[in-house]
């Protein structure tokens, strides 16, 4: 890693508040999920006694493996859950305050045009196009995923309050369709967050492992490491290019030609796409780092 040292002097990719709240929420969410699953195991079902089963295959009536749970027993798991919720919410408020200051939320929340850019990103990941689309700090798919995490997180907190205090906060419980449905929503949004987190972790390792360093020490060499500079796709090295491309190409050859003609970003680095993930051509990095003029 010696070649990476000079970047430590550059401005950090993520401010220290973001790095701290990121790892704090990683711990808090893990503990909340594990203890929540133990709470679920006390009554691994959503149906009321005597009612027909609820639609949440395959979880209705199936306890979660004990190894994935925390707390040991229902009471212990509840203590973990109700203690960690303060860290989760407090940490989230610090982060949201940071986002609100100086309009930093703009780097994260999808704005107009991000749907189209998201499709372009998906096409690149699916090997339908050859060059990484332009992006600012995050690509459009990242923005959508990270914003979805915040939305789902807010839903988790609200449904959690609804089943914690179904009488005191009865209006909130009623908003989710009553206690039973609020519990279902709480569980379903936990699953959704789990999928988003899993996707996030897989993509970090598969596309931008340098992000781990950026999120810990802040060090990041945009020109050399960014996925744009490396034209990085998930599992690039695992799949021989032709094999990965074959089914997609067969389906979408006409589409590719149509977009290649109209979109300059697809054509200008088309030749670089076959290089390995370590490649960093100067032409790419100069066009792909809008934050570093």
């Amino acid at each position: 890693m010696s070649h990476a040292e000079p970047t430590d002097h550059a401005a950090p990719r993520h401010p220290v508040v973001v790095r701290l709240t990121h790892w704090t929420s990683a711990v808090a969410i893990t503990v909340m999920a594990a203890s929540g699953l133990r709470i679920f195991n006390a009554h691994p079902s959503f149906a009321r006694p005597g009612d027909p089963p609820f639609p949440l295959w395959p979880f209705e009536g199936t306890p979660i493996a004990a190894k994935l749970t925390l707390g040991g027993w229902l009471g212990g798991a509840r203590h973990w859950h109700f203690a960690m919720m303060w860290l989760l919410v407090g940490n989230a408020l610090v982060y949201l305050a940071h986002l609100a200051r100086h309009g930093r939320w703009r780097t994260l929340v999808p704005l107009r045009g991000d749907w189209r850019d998201g499709i372009a990103m998906a096409r690149f990941y699916l090997r339908l196009t050859d060059a990484h689309p332009h992006q600012a700090k995050h690509n459009a798919l990242q923005k959508q995923a990270y914003t979805a995490m915040l939305v789902v997180g807010a839903l988790l907190v609200c449904t959690g309050l609804a089943i914690w205090k179904p009488v005191t906060l009865g209006w909130l419980t009623a908003l989710f369709g009553g206690y039973t449905w609020a519990r279902w929503w709480h569980f379903a949004s936990m699953l959704a967050l789990g999928v988003l987190v899993l996707g996030h972790v897989v993509m970090v390792f598969a596309v931008d492992p340098y992000a781990l360093r950026a999120m810990t020490t802040g060090g990041y060499d945009e020109a050399r490491w960014s996925p744009v500079a490396r034209n990085a796709r998930p599992f690039q090295r695992w799949l021989p290019r032709r094999v990965a491309m074959a089914p997609a190409m067969a389906l979408a050859t006409p589409l590719v030609h149509a977009t290649a003609a109209s979109s300059p970003e697809v054509s200008h680095t088309a030749s670089a796409s076959s290089t390995s993930s370590q490649a960093s051509t100067s032409s790419q990095s100069s066009t792909s780092s809008p934050e570093k003029p």
Binding site: R48, G71, H79
Partner: protein
């Protein structure tokens, strides 16, 4: 958080010392030192770890729980009401039955005399009520949810006497801040904060779905309130004792939250 700021302090002493020596001798740089130290500190933290979580954190978690109780009591609204949703089914005999004795607790009148409900403690006029007297006083009939700590809920139609009515009859003294509900079910009891006990939906229940309370559900009388989780609602009731201090409870002493409010 009680997590030590210096990761080295959380290490087993000999490992920590060895690491510090290596650092002082310049054999490892500051960055490696911090890396190894935090790695070992993490290991030390988790070494007291079983399925219930690291023991070092557990006491902290429980003390946060005591803070939660203050927030829950602040959130509590005497005016909040629970209603069994109009479309929801009354559980009836499907309502889960629970007691801690080996068999359904039954009051043996031949050995123990007639069952009576005693209202005593921090009151001016202690009461001793027969079942017939309670049934005559039972003017409240409510279709409410029962919230079990396990996560299920069920609707029942309970009729009975509000605890607030008994408190008024007995005349609370200023020192009454808690209530203990005691049973003849192998010593089962749970104490409550006075506010929750005086909630309009907190009843001494003598009837379920317009029939006398069946033995499986706590006959002859039980406490029921939607504002408390199931385990706080003592069945097979014998004593309602107003107190200046709380005295825990069967499940509260075994690790569930004492407050157990909804």
């Amino acid at each position: 958080m009680s997590a030590p700021r210096d990761p080295n302090r959380a290490l087993p002493p000999r490992l920590g010392d060895a690491l510090a020596r290596e650092h002082a001798a310049g054999r490892i740089d500051r960055r490696d030192f911090m890396r190894l130290a935090s790695l070992l500190a993490g290991g030390a933290l988790l070494s007291g770890c079983d399925a219930r979580g690291p023991s070092s954190v557990r006491s902290l978690i429980v003390s946060v729980g005591r803070g939660n109780e203050r927030i829950e009591r602040w959130l509590y609204r005497p005016g909040s009401r629970d209603h069994g949703a109009p479309g929801s089914r009354v559980a009836g005999d499907g309502f889960p039955s629970y007691f801690i004795s080996r068999t359904v607790p039954m009051w043996d009148a031949s050995a123990r005399g007639e069952w009576r409900l005693t209202v005593d403690g921090a009151v001016r006029r202690p009461l001793s009520l027969t079942l017939a007297e309670l049934q005559r006083m039972a003017r409240v009939r409510q279709r409410v949810n029962h919230y079990c700590v396990e996560g299920w809920n069920a609707t029942a139609i309970f009729s009975g006497v509000p605890v607030a009515t008994l408190a008024e009859l007995a005349g609370l003294t200023p020192s009454a801040a808690y209530v203990d509900f005691r049973s003849f079910d192998a010593g089962y009891h749970e104490s409550w904060d006075l506010d929750s006990a005086l909630h309009a939906q907190t009843l001494i229940v003598v009837g379920k779905e317009d029939r006398p309370l069946p033995p499986a559900y706590g006959a002859p009388a039980r406490v029921h309130s939607p504002v408390k989780l199931g385990y706080k609602n003592t069945k097979y009731l014998t004593h309602v004792t107003f107190m200046p201090e709380r005295n825990g409870g069967y499940w509260s002493d075994r690790g569930y939250e004492w407050y157990g409010g909804t």
